[in-house]
């Protein structure tokens, strides 16, 4: 079949993928390619896969255990060998009473374990609610918390800073909680192979007007499935600030493993205005997580093995532009701003060691 290859232009895989992703988004928007169908396919395969082969959540796994607790007492008796099928039938009938006796006890045990797991899960849910922990997205659903509360900084654009820190375009860059996709767009325009994830499905869909690849999923969920070292740049923003402390530590660990050697992570803080924004009292008062100080990010990143960790404060940079090069004056402005306006928004940048 193989002959001398004809001459042809080389394939631009990156550009091709951009075009194909745009096609996917168009079809998703039109309903031709429903995202729900992908999830349904995953769920269907999960029914036949062993529990420990699933990359699934607690409820999915417990559901699978519940289904597995009912033991099938009708083994296949087909065989390609002559007489073997009849032999299997005889053995199945002869041992049926004993197998049923054992299976009934085993089923009872498994059903009891599954029920206990369900109850345990419900207790954990209650604990999370009472302690204000857990998934912020669920709180938003429960309390009708306005989306705006969780928006990333809007007063100061960090886009230029991010571009500056990422350096020359190479490899893949991920923006978690990409929102409307404007930063991903900037990165793509600047020559990066960039994409985003956004936990709010509607927001992710709207972002597809701006960029070809913003996926509807949470930061940690996406980072978990990435192969180690597959990113050269990672921008964490938005919801990453308000997860539980344990999730925050996990997120930093995932960032470390997903970045290649020499890769850069930039953490963009939520703007203080976002924290002062009004909402339903119950939702505001019981919202999980807290704004994270830059020092905390610095510590977490350093502990995860990042080096060259630096913080840049938003307000001070703005004041410096107003006040020119007078350092003492800048410091006074910064102190005054901190007293009047509260904490500044900030960005923390760190790199994986080479």
């Amino acid at each position: 079949m193989s002959d001398a290859p004809p001459e042809s232009a080389p394939l631009d895989n990156s550009q091709l993928l951009v075009e194909i992703r745009q096609e996917v988004e168009r079809r998703r928007a039109s309903g031709d390619l429903p995202a729900e169908m992908e999830r349904e396919l995953d769920r269907t395969f999960a029914e036949f896969a062993p529990v420990d082969a699933l990359d699934a959540n607690f409820d999915t796994i417990v559901s699978k255990i519940e289904r597995s607790a009912v033991i099938d007492l009708s083994p296949s008796v087909v065989s390609a060998y002559p007489g073997a099928a009849q032999m299997k039938q005889v053995v199945a009938k002869a041992t049926a009473f004993y197998v049923r006796h054992v299976a009934t006890q085993a089923s009872s045990l498994f059903q009891g374990v599954a029920r206990a797991l369900r109850l345990l899960g419900e207790r954990v849910d209650e604990l999370e609610l009472s302690k204000g922990a857990g998934d912020p997205a669920r709180w938003r659903e429960l309390e009708g918390l306005p989306e705006a509360r969780w928006s990333p900084s809007s007063a100061v654009s960090w886009d230029d800073y991010v571009l500056e820190q990422l350096g020359a375009p190479s490899g893949r860059v991920l923006h978690t909680h990409a929102g409307d996709g404007h930063l991903v767009r900037r990165l793509i325009d600047a020559g990066y192979e960039a994409y985003g994830v956004e936990p709010v499905a509607d927001v992710a869909l709207a972002a597809s007007d701006v960029v070809p690849d913003v996926r509807a999923m949470a930061a940690a969920d996406h980072l978990r499935i990435l192969p180690p070292g597959s990113l050269t740049g990672l921008v964490l923003s938005g919801l990453v600030e308000v997860v539980t402390p344990a999730s925050l530590v996990e997120l930093v660990g995932l960032a470390a493993s997903s970045l290649a050697k020499g890769g850069t992570v930039v953490v963009l803080s939520a703007h203080p205005d976002a924290w002062r924004r009004a909402g339903p009292p119950l939702a505001v008062d019981l919202a999980p997580g807290r704004p994270v100080h830059p020092e905390t990010w610095e510590t977490l990143l350093a502990r995860a093995g990042f080096v060259d960790v630096t913080t840049r404060l938003g307000f001070r940079e703005q004041l410096a532009e107003v006040a020119g090069s007078d350092a003492a004056c800048n410091d006074n402005f910064a102190r005054l701003a901190a007293a009047v306006f509260g904490p500044a928004d900030f960005a923390v940048r760190a790199r994986r060691p080479l």
Binding site: S2, P6, R21, L33, E38
Partner: protein, 364 residues
């Protein structure tokens, strides 16, 4: 005369490692070396072609002898070889990572884990390790091999691809006459090769682009539990008449499947090299593949390479684009043929022969 004998746990004719072992034997003999193949068991082998490894008792008197171990799984053979005094070489084809196989085939865990352990054990006594790919080479280096050379799998595509099975060809042509594209993936049914992801992408493709499309999954099974789950999955999706799992097929039938295919879709998460990519390109079948493990370096820029973590909608849309865009298909076919040329048997044999010649010259 110097001898370099090959050892492998299981020799299976027509398998990638079986074919490679045969080609290595020819290459070694072409260098004027004595070379036999020893295995614990042999499948479909010509009489006398492969010897029971217990027959190997040591070097002939005065004959410098090297032992070349084809490493792809765990085996008691590896431990026995490690204890032998002859200088050793390792040809590493990678070992399926335990976490990928363990949930499906717990009984294979010890074999795979043994393979990883033995890979490490042999590092101190192996004078040289040959890796199919840089991906494999990096694993060898990580466990302590001091001298690692990358030489791709030796495969004679011209010989393997020449004869087709007319019966299979007729059946495929008959299916094609009803319209619809033919997807193909070739490889053992195994969880790390992710045929279930191919089925998912195929289901999306049929729903959105081509309701008459067919999928052919060609290859035997290395996990009965995974194969059963895959069959039930296909049935649950109502794709029983459009997805065919052929099982192990003859070389001629394999050629027919490649000739009948419109696109080769590889969503495997773990490949040490992936010979079927070369076969597909040799047969002018455009490739859509996930950029995992050694796939990117085998495929080069000759296929649509999807980033790891891509969803199946992207796979389906990529296949649609390849089949719908004639100019893109032409580019991929041309690039594939050029890529295959880089892995031609003449080139890989020369690289292997040069590597061996350097080693033997250096050993005095």
């Amino acid at each position: 005369m110097t001898a370099v004998h090959q050892f492998l746990p299981v020799y299976a004719a027509r398998s990638a490692i079986g074919n490679h072992t045969d080609q290595v034997a020819r290459t070694l003999r072409s260098l004027g070396l004595t070379s036999e193949i020893y295995a614990t068991s042999a499948w479909r082998a010509r009489r006398g072609h492969v010897k029971d490894w217990h027959e190997y008792t040591g070097p002939l008197r005065g004959e410098p002898t090297w032992l070349l171990y084809q490493l792809s799984t765990g085996s008691s053979m590896a431990d026995a070889l490690a204890a032998r005094p002859e200088p050793k070489l390792v040809n590493y084809h990678n070992i399926t990572p335990v976490p990928m196989m363990a949930p499906w085939e717990p009984s294979l865990v010890s074999e795979l884990a043994d393979g990883r352990r033995q890979m490490g054990d042999l590092s101190s006594s192996a004078a040289l390790a040959v890796a199919d790919s840089s991906f494999n080479g990096a694993e060898l280096t990580a466990v302590g091999y001091r001298r690692v050379v990358v030489v791709p799998v030796l495969v004679d595509l011209d010989a393997l691809g020449s004869a087709a099975d007319a019966g299979v060809g007729r059946r495929l042509a008959q299916a094609k006459s009803a319209g619809g594209a033919d997807w193909l993936f070739v490889g053992r049914l195994a969880p790390n090769k992710c045929q279930h992801e191919v089925v998912k992408a195929f289901a999306l493709y049929r729903r959105c682009f081509d309701p008459r499309a067919r999928l052919w999954l060609v290859g035997g099974s290395s996990s009965p539990r995974y194969s059963a789950a895959l069959e039930r999955f296909v049935a649950a999706l109502g794709l029983g008449s459009s997805v065919t799992m052929t099982g192990s097929v003859s070389q001629a039938a394999l050629v027919s499947y490649y000739r009948g295919a419109d696109v080769f879709v590889c969503l495997s998460r773990h490949e040490g090299f992936c010979v079927p990519l070369l076969e597909a390109m040799w047969h002018r079948v455009p490739v859509v593949a996930l950029a995992s493990s050694a796939v990117p370096e085998t495929l080069g820029s000759a296929g649509v390479l999807l980033p790891e973590g891509s969803d199946n909608s992207l796979v389906a849309a990529s296949v649609h684009r390849v089949l719908d865009d004639a100019s893109l298909r032409d580019v991929l076919v041309a690039a594939g043929l050029a890529r295959v040329e880089e892995f031609s048997l003449a080139r890989t044999r020369t690289r292997f022969a040069d590597t061996m010649a350097d080693l033997l010259a250096g050993s005095g």
